[in-house]
């Protein structure tokens, strides 16, 4: 009796968490559309969005420029922030599950900088791979992110047998430093203008991107999150360690590979459209786990929702805090994320390895 009662209660709790997270996404989206230099009333916003999507309109005489602001500037910006935040948070949750450590994140283990190098390369030399068209950018970013990941793991393997998180982060720093030098080299080849532009891009931003960038990230986000969602049980099993996971029948090699590919798809695509936005993947899964517990069945989707909402808020902050000028969004997430990273590190060291 008691157990069925508690199970129901728990199930309810999880349902409420999903409702809360979904509400958070909707709320922040509306807030992101509402709040800026020009304040547009909510009914007008809803009218424009519903007219564009469902063809249902009820207001007349909405000025063309207002419609432009909402549909062509703010909505894609908010949606891009949502997608990037969701992708990074999900990738972070997956890396943490895979490496069995809450300190892992696309940024801290160097994948982001690898993807950024690929993206800078494409942007700077204006490359287009035949057959990929505009998808050249995310594809190159994903591939270079994945290569960086394997370089980091290779370095870890060479230096120690176990995948200790400290070693991975150290290897991430080493590879990132090297990649940073390469990126700087490419940038310094250009003129002053493009240099400023690329450096600003590297800080991370979702401003001035438009629908094209939303289109760029969405397919990769869908595929990447699908791959990770169907591997949630493997991520849970990996908490036992690779050997013990193998003993309960997990195909560890295949599972790891798919999880790495899924997380790299998400990271690479996110970096390709927004630059390097750090620590989202570190902070969000940690917060989610505090509330739901570590079961990846819920950690993955909830991280996605909360991560999206978080980045919309961070973007909102970045464009209002020093209005009329804007901060790069990476500055905001870095200011929030780095101290949390430090706290987590200390906590991990105190509680011993785990």
């Amino acid at each position: 009796m008691l157990s069925s009662f508690t199970r129901k209660y728990l199930a309810n709790k999880v349902v409420w968490l999903y409702i809360f997270a979904g509400g958070l996404v909707l709320g922040t989206t509306l807030l992101g559309l509402l709040e800026s230099s020009v304040t547009i009333p909510i009914p007008t916003i809803l009218h424009i969005v519903s007219e564009k999507i469902f063809g249902i309109a009820w207001l007349s005489d909405v000025p063309k420029n207002v419609e432009m602001i909402i549909w062509n500037i703010r909505l894609p910006r908010v949606l891009l922030a949502l997608c990037v935040g969701a992708s990074l948070a999900l990738a972070g949750a997956a890396f943490q599950g895979l490496l069995r450590n809450p300190l892992a994140d696309p940024y801290t283990i160097g994948v982001s900088s690898g993807a950024a190098l690929g993206a800078v390369f494409v942007i700077f030399f204006q490359l287009t791979i035949i057959g990929l068209g505009s998808y050249t950018l995310p594809v190159v970013a994903i591939v270079s992110g994945l290569i960086t990941l394997f370089a980091v793991f290779g370095l870890v393997r060479l230096s120690s047998r176990s995948l200790a998180i400290e070693t991975i982060i150290l290897a991430g720093i080493i590879i990132s430093a090297f990649i940073g030098a390469l990126t700087s080299l490419i940038i310094s080849l250009g003129d002053q203008d493009s240099m400023t532009q690329i450096i600003y891009w590297l800080y991370g931003s979702v401003a001035m991107r438009g629908w094209s960038h939303v289109q760029l990230i969405i397919p990769f986000m869908i595929v990447g999150s699908f791959i990770l969602f169907i591997h949630y049980r493997e991520l849970n099993a990996l908490a036992l360690g690779e050997e013990a996971a193998d003993h309960i029948g997990v195909n560890v090699k295949r599972g790891k590979l798919f999880i790495l590919i899924g997380a790299s798809l998400l990271t690479g695509a996110a970096v390709a459209v927004s630059g390097t936005i750090g620590f989202v993947g570190l902070v969000i899964p940690h917060l989610v786990r505090l509330v739901t517990g570590p079961n990846h069945k819920h950690v993955l989707p909830l991280s996605m929702l909360v991560g999206g909402a978080f980045l919309i808020l961070a973007d909102l902050l970045s464009r209002t805090i020093v209005a009329p000028s804007e901060l790069p969004i990476g500055v905001i997430t870095g200011l929030i994320g780095a101290p949390i990273f430090a706290i987590l590190l200390v906590k991990e060291r105190i509680s011993g390895r785990g």
Binding site: R100, E243, A244, H247, G249, V250, P294, G354
Partner: protein, 489 residues
């Protein structure tokens, strides 16, 4: 169940397992023993598939083990190793539910009602239900291992592989885990293949054992294989002595340290103190003596320092003599765990104490004797079992080194001498009026310093046996005479 044929495997170029044949029957508890580096863990990894088989084969239920898919294998075989680190704060129940991984079906791979039921069952079996919502990292090492066992059982395996599952556990949890396993084995016919470090634990739980050395099985058989001291000494390079468990018919091993503490040789005559008053006689030796005795406490063969003979009233109520002796010893600050305790109603003033050196062996004897209760053991009537005044308590200390066999032999010699003394004094059994062989409650102890050369025999055909005989004969005679004198008064 599992059959290994001419198995070779291990790391590239250097096989650790070098040609091994073994068959493990359905439902047995098989313990794999062997020193570090003998290949136990490698053999395990060959079974779990973590290391490649280079030659030969492993058959699981008659089928090549490599032909099973990971899921199929995990449904047949589960593994419990030493404590593992678990990342994040998973609850106990979440960890156990991972054991259902190979059984989950369907696209969504949710835990079904049947899965839930099994999880609840194994939690009850392993007595961890009350921890189900506790984070795994918060519970103690022994409880963690119980949770991991529950996880392994949730897999519903036919075979459970154990790799030193109790290595880091204290004896409470070690026996708890192994009892749980044994229960499973006996109730459900689970086959258990365990690597165990502790030979004594293996002896208590396993049906059969295999002794592995340098990648080959030296011996496979019942646990009595552990009685082969020479073989164990060769494999482990440690001096071992096999004894039997006092209450279970299984061998238990005692290890002798390589560098025995060589203390200064004992000067026998100056190594003891005697306290004697009207209540008790207390002989205390500086070093523990190898002792054989039938005292009320300290019986059997042991190492002891204190030897006591307490005076009791002739109407002493002997319902709990052991407890009384312990209380008295506590009262006089004698550690009863390290003591032999005897009782007598004889006046302790009539004690006889003699020291002599016979054939170079210093000996000391203390006797209190009373024969009011003398009995001819060969008579048919049954003696009145209550303690009456009159018992012969003998303590004989020797500066010699006896084997256990010699101790028993010496015990015989002492008894023979006592019988002879009673015969020569014409002490009679009052019931039958024949010559008595002893009294109804005689106590005897032999204490040895275990110095000098080891003597395997102490019977009447040996010098030392004769020495024992003479000491006991003379002293007994003297003590009985003293007693008779007092009685006549």
């Amino acid at each position: 169940m599992i059959k290994m044929k001419n198995l070779v495997g291990g790391y590239k170029n250097t096989p650790i397992i070098k040609g091994l044949d073994l068959e493990i029957e359905q439902g047995e508890f098989f313990a794999l023993l062997g020193p570090n580096g003998s290949g136990k863990t490698t053999l395990f990894k060959l079974i779990t598939g973590q290391l490649p088989i280079q030659e030969g084969e492993i058959l699981l239920s008659g089928k090549e083990i490599a032909s099973y898919s990971k899921f199929e294998k995990a449904r047949k075989v589960s593994v419990l190793t030493q404590e593992i680190q678990i990342s994040f704060d998973y609850t106990v129940e979440e960890i156990i539910s991972l054991g259902r991984y190979p059984h989950q079906k369907g696209v969504l791979k949710q835990l079904s009602k049947a899965d839930q039921k099994i999880i609840v069952d194994v939690m009850e079996k392993t007595k961890i239900s009350h921890y189900r919502h506790t984070p795994f990292r918060m519970i103690s090492g022994g409880e963690k291992q119980r949770v991991l066992l529950a996880k392994a059982l949730a897999q519903e395996p036919e075979i459970l592989l154990l790799d030193e599952p109790t290595n880091h556990l204290d004896i409470k949890y070690t026996f708890q885990i192994l009892d749980l396993l044994k229960e499973q084995q006996q109730e459900t016919g689970l086959t258990v293949l365990a690597i165990l470090h502790d030979l004594n634990v293996a002896s208590l739980y396993a049906n059969r054992i295999g002794l592995l050395e340098k990648g080959k099985l030296l011996e496979v058989g019942r646990v009595d294989v552990l009685r082969k001291e020479e073989q164990l000494k060769k494999v482990y390079d440690v001096e071992v002595k096999t004894q039997s468990h006092p209450s279970v018919p299984k061998p238990q091993l005692l290890m002798t340290p390589g560098h025995m503490i060589t203390e200064h040789p004992i000067d026998f005559y100056n190594s003891y103190k005697i306290v004697k008053n009207s209540t008790y006689i207390h002989v205390q030796f500086d070093q523990a003596l190898r002792t054989v005795s039938n005292g009320v406490i300290g019986e059997g063969i042991q190492w002891l320092n204190h030897f006591c003979n307490f005076h009791v009233d002739k109407h002493y109520n002997c319902s709990n003599p052991k407890k009384d002796l312990q209380d008295w010893m506590n009262m006089y600050n004698i550690p009863h765990e390290q003591a032999v305790g005897m009782m007598t109603a004889v006046n302790l003033d009539d004690m006889v104490m003699e020291t002599r050196e016979i054939e170079g062996i210093p000996m000391m004897i203390i006797i209190t004797a009373g024969v009011g209760n003398a009995i001819d053991i060969t008579n048919e009537y049954v003696a009145n079992p209550s303690i009456q005044i009159g018992t012969i308590n003998t303590m004989l200390f020797m500066d010699a080194h006896f084997t256990d066999g010699a101790l028993v032999n010496g015990y015989m010699s002492a008894t023979e001498a006592k019988v002879k003394a009673l015969q020569d004094l014409q002490v009679k059994d009052p019931e039958s009026n024949t010559i008595a062989t002893g009294t109804s409650t005689d106590a005897l102890l032999l204490g040895l310093t275990q110095q000098g050369e080891r003597t395997p025999y102490a019977g009447s055909g040996t010098v030392v046996g004769k020495g024992i005989g003479q000491m006991v004969y003379h002293a007994t005679k003297k003590a009985v005479k003293k007693y008779l004198k007092r009685v006549q008064r």
